[in-house]
Symmetry: C2
Subunit: 376 residues, 2 copies
Amino acid sequence: MTKLNLLLTPGPTPIPPEILQVMARPIIHHRTHEYRAIFREVSEGLKEVFRTQNEVYTFTSSGTGAMEASVVNFVAPGESVLVLDGGKFGERFADIARAYGLDCDSLKVPYGESFDAAEVKKKLSAKKYKAVYATLLETSTGVVNDIEAIGKAVADSGALFAVDAISGLLADRLETDAWKVDLAISGSQKGLMLPPGLAFLAVSAKAKAAVKPGIGRFYFDSKLYEKALKDEDSPFTPAITIVLGLKKALEMIRAKGLEAVWRENERLAEMTREAVRAMGLEMFAKKPSNGVTAVKVPAGIDGSKLLKVLQDEYGVVMAGGQGEMKGKIFRVAHMGHITQDDLAQGFNCLEELLQKMGYSFTRGAGLKAFQAGARA
Amino acid sequence: MTKLNLLLTPGPTPIPPEILQVMARPIIHHRTHEYRAIFREVSEGLKEVFRTQNEVYTFTSSGTGAMEASVVNFVAPGESVLVLDGGKFGERFADIARAYGLDCDSLKVPYGESFDAAEVKKKLSAKKYKAVYATLLETSTGVVNDIEAIGKAVADSGALFAVDAISGLLADRLETDAWKVDLAISGSQKGLMLPPGLAFLAVSAKAKAAVKPGIGRFYFDSKLYEKALKDEDSPFTPAITIVLGLKKALEMIRAKGLEAVWRENERLAEMTREAVRAMGLEMFAKKPSNGVTAVKVPAGIDGSKLLKVLQDEYGVVMAGGQGEMKGKIFRVAHMGHITQDDLAQGFNCLEELLQKMGYSFTRGAGLKAFQAGARA
């Protein structure tokens, strides 16, 4: 058997050949009409995928850079913020807020659980917060949160609402404007099917009005991006090749239609969950996302070894648990350019390996259930 | 005449086809043995081009991100720093320092001039500074600074010495360790022949010992990069494809030899200066860099129109003046993968256009002088 290079990971995700080709063309300069026209086009196109009329800033950074931008521009040291922390990426918001001297409270749920808007409302009525930070898809647990309901609660409180949709965008529905999200964050290497290197921040008028002096920032200073955007420009040299790839990615998404992209992710997620259950495995997320499925490592199986052998011998890369979930779960992504065939191949290898490692189940049951979910 | 796509700009520079090919391969995951081995290799390789034994951190950002990292980790708000500001990028250091609440003094020279180490020494004896920020190649003016002499003066004062070698690295000689540079900064899209998206910071033991709490930082927190580097890892998802390209770029540079790269840049720079003089044009930089040549726009010629037509009609991209030099100079780069043939084509087009625009000179004189400088 030939070793595959199959990424079933929640970022980076596989890049379509059409996009790789665009990025392999000779580079163009960013201070040219040609580039400015492309940058204007992608800045508009990003609004469509974020479902917003707000401007979207593009940073050359990982998604964490846009998370930092959502903190350092809109609140000042000493001000109170609330972080909904249900996993590693919720935690990251709290780490950033504390690194910048904010008064940061964390509302926590156990890993694998989602946030209840009523609980958030209660918390918001007990103390006044300037901003609330939440996660659409908590990548570390595979949980999707009810951003619509939480958004209502936050809007009622007057606080700004920031949502990390780095993994969630294009996998799980996000209606930035309709759900009153003031700061929507994403990255290039997930649903957008690009290499890592770009991060995005959609900024509402309410957020713009809240921009604060008094906190150290430069590379992620929103005013510089706002000003540059008016000239179809970036304040600093952008990751040009990835922006060119983004133009192509947005064209592909527009050709398919956003609703169709969401439906396809939902379909693949449901098929994946069916496969997991048919193999006698247990889902980890109570409210599972359509972008990534987290699965409990069955008793008696070494989770780290499972993923290592899957990667080293089969060439199938799935993600392990992060933080306190290390070794306890594995995660199968179905976002971006990951296809039904990719997932079928992945489950085939996973079944073979689990059997070899002594896990007792009906071999083929997972793949059969997966395929049964496929449309004719 | 076919319109070219000829970048004679000081970043981005043309990318060799071998590197474009590597980056066009299916992406790999960064939490794999394969990637970790590559990241270890490039982190070691970067030490060679920086001429340092120090560790080099790799950020996913433009070069400005690494400049910010050189500020936010090693000095604290209220502490005094000195910026040697001889152009747009010197100014940027001061902007960053002030954005983070440092007590920042600027030692200025007029655009086009370089810094005198004796003047720096005088300044350093008049006031105690925690760090001094300088530029190897000030891209906006084409000036190269005597980092070796300035480095001695700074080391004697006990301050940390940070050098922006974003454009300078691989074009002008930089001996990070021998010249007592504590923080050496560069980016991917210049001498390293890659797309923009990665930035680098070489950090001395003296700088590591100076790492300060008390300043807001997260994405550019050096401790996170230091810790991750021990596991051949990045704290946040890196721009994987550009790291893969970097492996190839470093192989190409090693195969040629660093001394040979410097000599080639020097040769092309000298040929460029000969061409400029033979056309009756005036050099702008008193101490010109080997990476980019800045030329005064001759009297009676509209500098902005010159560059616009050169770009729109010929497809030759040269850089204009930045900041207060806008319209007054143009800049021809000879760094990275820019070849003798590229420059000859560029001068051919420039001569044709200057003649059309009414500049009086001996047509062909520039190209002839350029070619006369070429080795047999």
